[in-house]
Symmetry: D3
Subunit: 175 residues, 6 copies
């Protein structure tokens, strides 16, 4: 596989699932953990598509579950790589849930997963760069740097002064 | 169930699982999504124990997956509530993985999930307060406020100037 | 949901799955039955999208499994309604399998499922007509009549003389 | 394993399952895809019994799902080989569903799967011939040739003039 | 359903399964717990067939697992009721495992499960008596009384002097 | 791993599960077979902890299921080794079930599983001895000998006169 410049669309994955009884809690709503399981698989495929490599989950950013998703709903997950960082890739996921007979559809979650490309022994290996093509992809590409700084800061792998983009995001009004 | 003051230990959940073939990726390592599925169930039980209520996942904080966990490993997940906020509870999870025949054991992940207690109709309902009893529980209790501010900030439900504890955490050294 | 004329694209479903260990036989290849299970779910969602109704599987046409699909492969299933017949819909499914690290991708299967739209009691209920928009959709729309005759003939619900399109397909060269 | 002449009964497989919640759709009825998954496993075992080999699914003929099968029903699948063709075998499956507490039992489906015997590398390998012993087995044996012609015709691997038995079946009354 | 005298054969259940990856331990052998799960389902169906009722597991007798069963093996479970005791039924299960391509087959386990017939509220309800028809069924019928005494003794629901058949079995040679 | 004297507590395993829809029967209660599946996994981990080896299930003693366990209940399984016999270990399991929102908790089952430690080829291998530390552990340790005699007697591997402890248990009052 050539390491030519690739676009986010090249990595796009659409996954569609139905919420089955074993996926639900006592209120007959989808359990958050089951949704994360699906997100991880969709994101892994997107990262595979971008890198042409075996990939392993490196981290997941904060996800919130504001909307209950009911038994029988159809879940659509769209995943695509936003940006590559040497051996790692950030994947953006967008989740919507539909009750088709009721005619309702809502966006329920957004998530960012990070994957590392590895060789057969599990050692990290460089991945191609990415060229965003749309305004939304540009914004996701730019934001990826701030989210990466936040991840590294939360993991105590960098210090706040090494995260200028993050700081300006959070504390612009303090300047 | 009386709403008397409760301790983190009252909510402690220990979950033990073996990594089975369907839980693994091409490298025979546990998929991150499957681990998150287990974490969500363990955390939900801890939140149930604290609140005595049906609970629903509200959010999960950033999780990193630094260590591969292999097929056949024994996973131990310990979950306990760190702090309650009106109708929501933060749950701290600590994950370790063992290859018992090889005699190896390692801490692999830490995670924070937030749950909301709900009634039979799914409406939020207040939960008891919590009294930390050990230095580690005190620290988790104190940190819960900062993590909550970060969650609300990331969800754009508060502004940076409303998150003073968070700011001092990140930027103490700049003062 | 209005019963306005709808197009095949309105019902398009893309499902992406990874072949996991429990999906495979002794040769580490995907079992045909597991693939049919996924096809049924993808087709049901397409039929739901077209009809806006609960749907139940009525029949599946002959499927052949010419290409082995390996453990770890990424399966992409595309499903869309080809034609509606009063209360039933034919769904066309196209399956491809990729070994992304190896850089290989192949079309592996085509299938036709038929679904019936039903109300909450399980009684059949009319579905909207469909307007094909592309040459491929036109061809699938036209072929749906012959495939329906073959289904009815195989089910002994019509006689050969009631299946003129089917006859001309099979025996054109004898005329 | 000797390649002596074998009978359909030698390959008989009886599989019994209970319909569990995750096997059902919104109407609490068994999903067609789950039934096909069970059929594929039962048929594979019958083909293994006949051939004494690893087998892979080659095709499934048209199946119709006329009768809903409910949550909690007991499914009985009987599978036996009808005829062998060099390296392939046709397997006939008969499905019935019972609600034992209600005292009801019905035949719900008939199906024909075709399997190919393979060696450890997945290459086709000849299978023993079969000798039908009962009138029903004779009829299934005779019909296997017509069904095979239909499969090959649908797969465009033969032309209509090469399928005389099939033609006489469909168009006897035109002669 | 009439409560006429029934025979063990009336309740016979044959269940056939393939050992899949997720059913196996680190040595690629079937886990004992998975086999017990299948046994419980097969035995429940046999008890349903005898009683025509919903049934619940009351107990399982000592089972030993002397023979490893390998990934890919075909498991055949035969279950039939041996004797009825007012509202409960003892079910005998016989398990064999085959590696069909290797041409090996062995009996691997025997087990006895006891079920209670219940109404829709879960209250015990009388079941029909049974008439053994073969010498093996006679022996299982006679032994059922001793096994029942052992169960009751182990559950401390009877005293040793109330289990004369059991005593004579164990200690005949001491007299 | 050194073969130093170990205690029952060293092997303690706590497993926590929620009863999901697919684990339940028609009455929405946990199926006995599913519980046994969980018990086998919990017991295997305890035996692994004691022996530091791969272990295989050798037998399970009589288990009774007196109390129904409902959908949504939280199951807590505690497993620890009671005694070692050359290459085998007896594991004691204690099961309780909670309906947390209802505030109810009950002990539902006790069970004894026996495991054998094996090497990579599946051959039995000696395990460390164990030193009970509490009165309850002393009692379980003492009882293990009687239970072992009963197992061997039921498996017809010893004669009644070789089971003096068992005899005194059952027939103390006849002396």
């Amino acid at each position: 596989m050539s390491n030519k410049m690739k676009t986010p669309k090249d990595s796009l994955v659409t996954m569609t699932e139905i919420v089955l009884p074993n996926d639900t809690n006592t209120l007959n709503n989808l359990m958050g953990g089951k949704l994360m399981h699906w997100l991880d698989i969709a994101a892994a495929i997107a990262a595979q598509r971008h890198s042409g490599r075996i990939v392993v989950t490196a981290s997941v950013d904060n996800i919130s579950f504001a909307e209950p998703i009911a038994l029988g709903d159809v879940i659509t997950i769209k995943a695509q790589v936003t940006r590559a960082f040497n051996t790692s890739m950030e994947v953006y996921l967008d989740v919507s849930a539909e009750n088709i007979p009721a005619g309702t559809k809502q966006k329920t979650n957004r998530a960012f997963f990070t994957f590392v490309a590895v060789d057969q022994l599990g050692n990290p290996i460089p991945v191609p760069e990415i060229t965003p093509e749309t305004p939304e992809e540009d914004e996701l590409y730019a934001g990826a740097l701030r989210r990466r700084q936040l991840r590294l800061l939360l993991a105590k792998r960098i210090k706040p002064e090494d995260a200028p983009e993050l700081k300006s995001l959070f504390f612009a009004e303090n300047k």
